[in-house]
């Protein structure tokens, strides 16, 4: 290594990996239901889609976590997006493609994708 630029390149590459170990989860949380029902309905590709989208975007302060069964198994895969100071948004019957849209429009754009939410599914 002969320059600071090389050092910074390694730092940027590693930052997300190490930052996910921070104890203060103040930022946005994307929580994927990963109980038996969720996994059976296809939650794993959804989870991976979110993880890749977050890592690829370089956005900090967003964590992707998993949780157990929320109790609405008929709507799995279920994803919750929790932003500080805002109401929780619950997405249902998710797929990897839908995950990408949620990431682009909601996480990055700040506008929830209403058509995927539990509210519109129950109508």
């Amino acid at each position: 290594m002969k320059s600071l630029a090389e050092l910074s390149a390694i730092r940027d590459k590693m930052k997300n990996q190490v930052a996910s170990r921070a104890n203060d989860l103040d930022g946005t949380k994307i929580i994927v239901g990963m109980a038996t029902c969720g996994i059976a309905a296809g939650a794993r590709p959804v989870l991976n889609a979110f993880v890749e989208a977050v890592a690829g975007s370089g956005i900090e302060n967003v964590t992707v976590a998993q949780t157990g069964c929320i109790g609405i198994c008929q709507y799995e895969p279920v994803v919750e997006v929790v932003e500080p100071g805002k109401d929780k948004v619950t997405y249902v019957k998710m797929t990897a493609e839908k995950a990408q849209r949620v990431f682009d429009e909601h996480i990055k754009g700040g506008k929830p994708v209403t058509e995927f939410t539990i509210g519109s599914a129950q109508k």
């Binding site: 290594m1 050092l7 590459k13 996910s20 170990r21 989860l25 996994i39």
Partner: protein
């Protein structure tokens, strides 16, 4: 793509309780579950809560699993990692509240801590330089080499108020300034990693958990004083620390962060390891440098100070591991940031190794000025089994005992000295009502008698005489004059010894004499040990009213010291009794007591 990280503590404490096997099992189970591309297992340095080891933390949730066993691993993998259900019954009790899992930072142990020196311990993999770089590692070195003059570096360290964490609290920036002021030529940057105080292990944890922080800081120091060679003097008794440090040195060289022409700036710096053979005196700076030179580790008079004439007769600086661990952070975040923590004369934080009669044994880092009460009761969880606090011992064999009335003293270098102890390297041993203070003083003095290098008479002979008096007192043959003589001798040894070892050796005796003189008096006047520790002063007695005359104790006594007729109170013959305690265990009526 990694979505979850499992951190397993690979510090000495957790390693000895089997964390390596847990890691192997974890890797195996994750593979069996097909999660090897999604879950990363990282072995880290010490988390600090050693009492609860082996420790495992799963991120991003931050779930804290304590006392993990190999048998627990399949459940954690199938429930938590596969299905996202936190295994509540394995999580640390304090993090499970009303069915919710709290963040580790919300537990009493971590809430009041402020981690700077320990910032990466338990967070990154110490054997992977990329992870250190990922937490802004080596940015400070880059900054000083490309943007700052050596004098500017020294000015920042001076302005930060950083003082030596090894015990004496000498201002680090001043030390660097002295060495920098010497004419150019060969100079040395040394690190004291010869952590020898009984019960202290903060330096070990930094070496094991964040070795690159030390390497980076030493290179910065090298640039500041104009040196191209560093030495780390580390105890051979720290095999994991030595191994990780060696790995870290190799990685830093491979990346060109050590060696020639670092960052293309023309600055050269490299570090060598020197293993200490376990002599306590080698923690003293002149003895340490003599030992690096390959000679017998003995101190020499100062001046000349090492900054003028140190290793190989050249200007040298010596700082402690924890001191170095603060340096890169100060460069990156500024002197004002560091000064904003702690007290006026002692800025920043201090790491303490909590031990003795305390619930949460482990490592804590708190801002200077935190009270002992907060450290012991809030962070440390208080004294186990509802026992009463008696004293806190800081500074190891060079320090003193602090009684309850000083528990609310804000801890910094000046305040601790004012109440007869020293900061020392940060060992903090808590004692309760079952500890005899005369016995404690004797324990530490036995240590210094063993470790005295023998070069100067006050330390070599004086400490032995002091120990003889303490022996006399604890065996019940002491007189009041002995206590006075002991005190006088302490003051002679303190003022006449050559180096810090002898000068501070009387501290445990002096501070216990100051605060617990009544216990010494009880030993010599009443011939009693109030805490029931000193065997020669202890008597086993049968309480007449409680004894039913069942003869159980008399039948168990190995020396036949208990006599009496059936259904009549028995008696113990103190002459024959060997104080083995079998009778107390045997008695069903609680009729036998130690006095």
């Amino acid at each position: 793509m990694v979505r979850s990280t499992v951190l397993i503590c690979g510090g000495t404490g957790c390693s000895s309780s089997g964390s390596a096997k847990i890691k192997d099992k974890m890797v195996e189970e994750i593979k069996a579950a097909g999660l090897e591309n999604e879950v990363k297992v990282v072995v880290t340095g010490c988390f600090g809560l050693c009492a609860l080891g082996p420790i495992m933390i799963v991120y991003p949730e931050g779930t804290f699993y304590s006392r993990v066993t190999v048998e627990d691993v399949p459940e954690i993998v199938s429930e938590h990692l596969l299905k996202g259900r936190i295994v509540k019954h394995l999580a640390y009790d304090e993090t499970v509240k009303d069915n919710e899992i709290l963040s580790l930072n919300d537990t009493a142990f971590y809430k009041k801590q402020k981690r700077i020196a320990l910032r990466n311990c338990g967070v990154i993999n110490p054997e992977n330089i990329d992870e250190y770089i990922g937490t802004d590692g080596y940015q400070a070195l880059g900054k000083v080499l490309t943007e700052m003059q050596p004098q500017e570096v020294i000015d920042v360290i001076k302005a930060s108020g950083l003082r030596g964490r090894g015990g004496a609290g000498f201002p680090t920036g001043m030390k660097w300034q002295f060495a920098a002021n010497q004419p150019a030529g060969k100079k040395f940057v040394c690190c004291n990693a010869d952590e020898g105080d009984p019960g202290a292990f903060m330096d070990r944890s930094i070496l094991e958990g964040d070795p690159h922080a030390l390497i980076e800081a030493m290179a910065i120091a090298g640039y500041a004083i104009g040196s191209d060679q560093g030495y780390v003097y580390v105890r051979a008794e720290y095999p994991i620390a030595v191994q990780r440090l060696q790995i870290a040195l190799n990685q830093a060289r491979e990346y060109g962060l050590l060696g020639k022409d670092i960052f293309g700036t023309g600055f050269n710096f490299d570090i060598e390891l020197r293993l200490g053979a376990g002599a306590f005196v080698c923690g003293e700076e002149t003895a340490l440098m003599t030992s690096i030179e390959g000679k017998r580790g003995e101190p020499r008079p100062r001046p000349p100070f090492p900054a003028v004439k140190g290793l190989y007769g050249r200007p040298s600086i010596l700082n402690n591991v924890e001191t170095y661990a603060n340096v890169a952070q100060i460069i990156l975040k500024g002197a004002d940031w560091f000064k904003s923590m702690g007290t006026e004369k002692s800025s920043g934080t201090k790491v303490f190794a909590l031990g003795g009669k305390i619930k949460n044994t482990g490592l804590v880092e708190v801002p200077m000025g935190t009270t002992l009460r907060d450290i012991i009761y809030e962070i440390g969880g208080g004294i186990p089994d509802g026992k009463k606090f008696k004293a806190a011992q800081t500074g190891g064999p060079s320090g003193g005992c602090i009684p309850e009335k000083h528990l609310d003293t804000p801890i910094d270098f000046e305040n601790l000295a004012a109440i007869g102890s020293i900061m020392g390297s940060g060992g903090l041993i808590v004692m309760d009502e079952d500890n005899c203070m005369v016995d404690i003083a004797k324990f530490f003095l036995e240590f210094t008698v063993d470790e005295s290098c023998g070069k100067c008479t006050p330390c070599r002979v004086g400490t032995v005489r002091m120990l003889e008096i303490l022996d006399k007192i604890t065996s019940g043959n002491g007189t009041l004059e002995d206590i006075d003589k002991l005190e006088e001798l302490c003051n002679y040894v303190k003022s006449a010894s050559l180096c810090g070892l002898g000068q501070t050796a009387p501290n445990p005796v002096l501070s216990t004499l100051q605060y617990f003189r009544d216990e010494y008096v009880a030993h010599v006047v009443d011939k009693k040990c109030p805490a029931g520790v000193c065997k020669n002063l202890m008597r086993y007695v049968i309480i007449e009213d409680k004894c039913k005359g069942c003869t159980a104790c008399a039948r168990k006594c190995p020396v036949g010291a208990i006599t009496g007729t059936v259904k009549q109170p028995h008696v113990i013959d103190a002459e024959k009794c060997v104080k083995c305690g079998v009778c107390i265990e045997t008695c069903k009526f609680g009729a036998i007591v130690k006095q």
